[in-house]
Symmetry: C2
Subunit: 579 residues, 2 copies
């Protein structure tokens, strides 16, 4: 039973479900449904897919997440960054608008779902940690810019394409002569309206006496109003005849049953993008879920979240969708609107299913420019270059990683950008630990404490070199210590004993062990003793049965002070006794 | 001048060069030259190149290393593992025996030399540390096996090819019917003879009164004797007529002036292998140089070693050679024979130049099987599976890395093998640090010390959760701590304060900073205070100007005991005061 509960969180919250929770969940579902309709259409367009795919991708995934997910408020569906990644991935294997393109989207969702479930079952959620916060921030800022730029063509009513910012801009400029003015008028009006809704409407509503909570929720309906008004105007003035592109006929249907493609070629070429999408989607989703859970002192289980999101994506693959994840905007609205359990998500799915069945004829005259405008306004709020300033001030390594991520995402595309960001942060971290802080220490007079000889006034002994290593010893820094000891001993000819103070060493791996053995044998050749002090318990347990300790030309001291009293004044090397 | 001295170590040792050093260096050079002739021929054959290339590759590189290198005893030239890597790399771009193959070898040496010099000038020698000791040991064992297997065809006198152990064995078995018996007889005799020289001759010589040092040097001439005898027999019995393959006509010439290929295609396809060869060669060379330097309390400069080896490889590229590095066997012989300065290397180069000019007609009848036998005997001494047992006992992570390296090198080839070894060790290290040891601590009664509540009998306070983190906080483990705190606080409803004891935290990167900010704001939402104790100076310096400390719902305590006395009994949360 506890096994089932772990993998089916619905069994936990479902048992205590009551009328009050039902009513709260229903209210939240209505609000979220209204908000999701234009958002789903727009993100599907961003992914290069027919608008209804965005709605399909919100139905089964929401229900499946409600069963398997652990967050009470997370709303799963298409999101901007994942839509962009989807467009970039499947654009490489199929032509937009073809049947192959839609199948590739299903396959990508399937692979991504399978990978997430696999990670979850293997409890490998920690892999997501390889995406450092600055890399994510940089990536999201750069993708926001890319997404906004990619939508400009819809607002201008022209053709343009490209995977990098420069390609996009060049393509836009070269088609500037073909701008469609009615389209541009709609696009700019919607952008202006939506920005006003964000910044001007909320205070206005509050001034006329509407409660802040309700005012906040009302402003989220801005895109729906924009969609309604612009559709009405386009129909009334027959704007398609003037060249305004519209959504057109959308099938009235529940999500269809679909199959992803299983050809080895397709699977192979989509595998890497699927892994990337999974990890980025997971990181985004977990951050949102964690933030919302904390507000109610609930918690989420990251490994189970992998399974929840994986199930959602597999669901998307079989119901005409494309890769999905937990979205920030929709989840916050869901939470603010009072959703108490994942059942709110299920009700949202019901609402969207009704919309897909009944409302699609209403959006026949919806201009693409309106959808593009809602995307632009949504993603521009993601663009935040302040991460550059913040990391520059805090740490040059983090700054380098974020700057490289932004630059490479904009110039070489999303996939190379984020992969390089991860590689650069790992390399910089390894570089930092490859040259650990090693302090030569001496005795603080009148105490048993040892401190850095460069910072403190301490007693030293020319025959005795004591080094405190402030890092675990492992292969990346093993040789560093080897070189350091060799160079110190070669310079200081009077040195008869080297003591390594190991209080900050949490691990000694096999490479470091061999390095220490080499140091020991070289020092022995030079007639110099090697000693250790303050070795941690777990490290000592591992070292005990090694050649290092058996052949050690010296001794192990519990406290550095013991090493000092034993070695500093004794004229015959005390280490000899241990030979 | 000190600049010149750094980059031209010859200026240091050259000034004090005297008659005694000259005489010692000359003796060593004669011994090494005799040993190098068969070795160079054999390794060239291993690389798939004409035998004279092995000698050419020993001449200019030795001289250039003498000028730029820092080790007094290192002997640079063809070595087994690098020869195997060369064969594998250039076999992918050209057919063995063609002019393109030789040019590819030159190009590989050129790229490898350029990369090494670049690393040296940028002082990036630490990159070699990414090859952990177990990965190197596993790789060398697996390559030794591969090399020995690749030579079996010469000993059997049959055709066979393949890049993995299985391919090689299958190919050998399928050609077993074509075994040439005279060739096999020569091959087995030489192998038997060489093994006897190694294990039987040395004690014999010592029994008849020869000094151990001289006896050791004499046993190194075993291959020369084998070469001489088998050549003589092959000529005397006209064995080539019975199908014994011989070296044949070798040009009598000093190393020719050659040019590497500069076509972009060739450069691009050889770049990665060149980087791999550089790093493996560098690691092997530096280990040897360091071991020998330590015996005389000298030291080497790893970054300058990069320049020395790089110059040697560039030299090889322009004088008809192929990639070289500092070899273990030749360097040890050089050292044991009494070489005092790199001038010994220059004299060896002179000896080899004379051999290339005058002695090549003498090896016309040298059977390939003899060369193959010397390779087999040399590389089988590299094969040592004990690393598996040693790492298994010491650390499962190291064992995994070495086992994967051996397995992948044998099955998928040298390049994939070593690259996977590096990737796996890095990932395993990151995995270990991704779940750092975090201890909940309590007060040891009657003291000011805090210890793990699970191991010691300590006083705790249900309102106060104190966690000691035994690892630097960075992006890979930032979320781990975030989750851990959230789960502890969610479980322990009485908790009013969380204290993080930071005595073992050497770094807090930007991701960890943001995680801590998130923890702080979530705890604040729950009405729980967040405090820090025993933050290290450098970490505190960086944290000082951050939002984390400005918005901290708690305080910073120098000592954990201060935190305890302030927080444990106070009924109104002390953290509130800091808000």
């Amino acid at each position: 039973m506890s096994f089932l509960r772990q993998y089916l969180p619905i069994l936990v919250w479902g048992r205590s479900y009551n009328r009050q929770a039902l009513s709260n969940d229903l209210v939240a579902a209505v609000i979220v449904t209204i908000m999701l309709i234009p958002q789903s259409l727009a993100y599907a367009m961003l992914a290069g897919l027919p608008p209804e795919v965005g709605i399909y991708a919100s139905i089964a995934p929401i229900v499946l997440y409600a069963v398997f997910g652990t967050s009470r408020a997370l709303a799963v569906g298409p999101v901007a960054v994942v839509s962009l990644l989807t467009a970039s991935a499947i654009g490489q294997v199929a032509e937009q608008g073809t049947a192959g393109y839609a199948v590739a989207a299903l396959t990508l969702a399937f692979l991504s779902g399978g990978f997430l479930v696999l990670l979850g079952l293997l409890r490998l959620g920690f892999l997501a940690n390889f995406l450092s916060h600055p890399v994510i921030a940089g990536f999201i800022t750069a993708s926001g810019l890319l997404i906004a730029t990619s939508q400009v063509k819809h607002i201008l009513g022209i053709q343009a394409s490209g995977h990098s910012l420069i390609e996009l801009l060049v393509s836009l400029v070269s088609h500037l002569g073909e701008v469609n003015l009615p389209t541009l008028a709609i696009g700019l009006s919607v952008i202006g309206f939506l920005f006003w809704v964000r910044s001007g409407l909320n205070p206005l509503l509050q001034r006329i006496g509407i409660a802040p909570g309700l005012a906040g929720v009302l402003t989220k309906t801005g895109p729906v109003v924009a969609v309604g008004l612009s559709t009405l105007l386009t129909w009334a003035f027959a704007l398609p005849e003037s060249g305004v592109k519209i959504v057109g006929a959308v099938p009235q249907s529940l999500p269809p049953l679909t199959l992803p493609g299983f050809s080895p070629d397709l699977l192979q070429s989509l595998l890497l993008p699927a892994i990337l999408i999974s990890i980025i989607g997971f990181v985004e989703s977990v951050s949102v879920a964690q933030t919302l859970a904390a507000k109610k002192r609930q918690r989420i289980d990251p490994d189970q979240e992998l399974i929840g999101l994986g199930a959602a994506n597999i669901g998307a693959a079989f119901t005409g969708g494309y890769p999905v994840t937990g979205g920030f905007a929709r989840s916050v609205v869901n939470f603010d609107a009072g959703a108490e359990t994942p059942a709110a998500g299920a009700f949202t799915a019901l609402g969207l299913a009704i919309a897909a069945l009944a409302l699609t004829p209403l959006i026949y005259y919806l201009p693409n420019a309106t959808l593009a405008a809602t995307i632009v306004v949504a993603v521009l709020s993601l663009v935040d270059f302040s991460i550059l300033k913040k990391t520059w001030r805090y740490s040059r390594a983090d700054f380098t990683a974020v700057a490289a991520t932004i630059l490479l995402t904009l110039t070489l595309g999303v996939e190379i950008g984020v992969a390089s960001g991860v590689a650069i942060s790992v390399l910089l971290h390894l570089y930092k630990t490859s040259r650990p802080h090693v302090a030569e220490v001496g005795l603080v007079p009148g105490t048993q404490h040892f401190r850095n000889i460069n910072r403190h006034d301490v007693t030293t002994d020319p025959q005795l070199l004591t080094l405190r290593v402030d890092e675990s010893l492992y292969f990346v820094n093993a040789r560093f210590l080897e070189d350091l000891i060799q160079s110190r001993v070669t310079e200081g000819c009077a040195i008869r004993h080297v003591v390594l103070m190991m209080s900050a060493v949490n691990e000694v791996d096999y490479s470091a062990l061999e390095s220490l053995e080499a140091v020991n044998s070289r020092l022995k050749d030079m007639g110099v003793g090697l000693h250790f002090s303050e070795v941690k318990g777990p490290v000592m347990d591992k070292l005990k049965s090694t050649h290092l300790l058996q052949d050690l030309n010296g001794a192990i001291y519990l406290a550095q002070y013991d090493a000092w009293t034993n070695l500093s004044t004794s004229s015959p090397p005390a280490g000899r006794a241990a030979e």
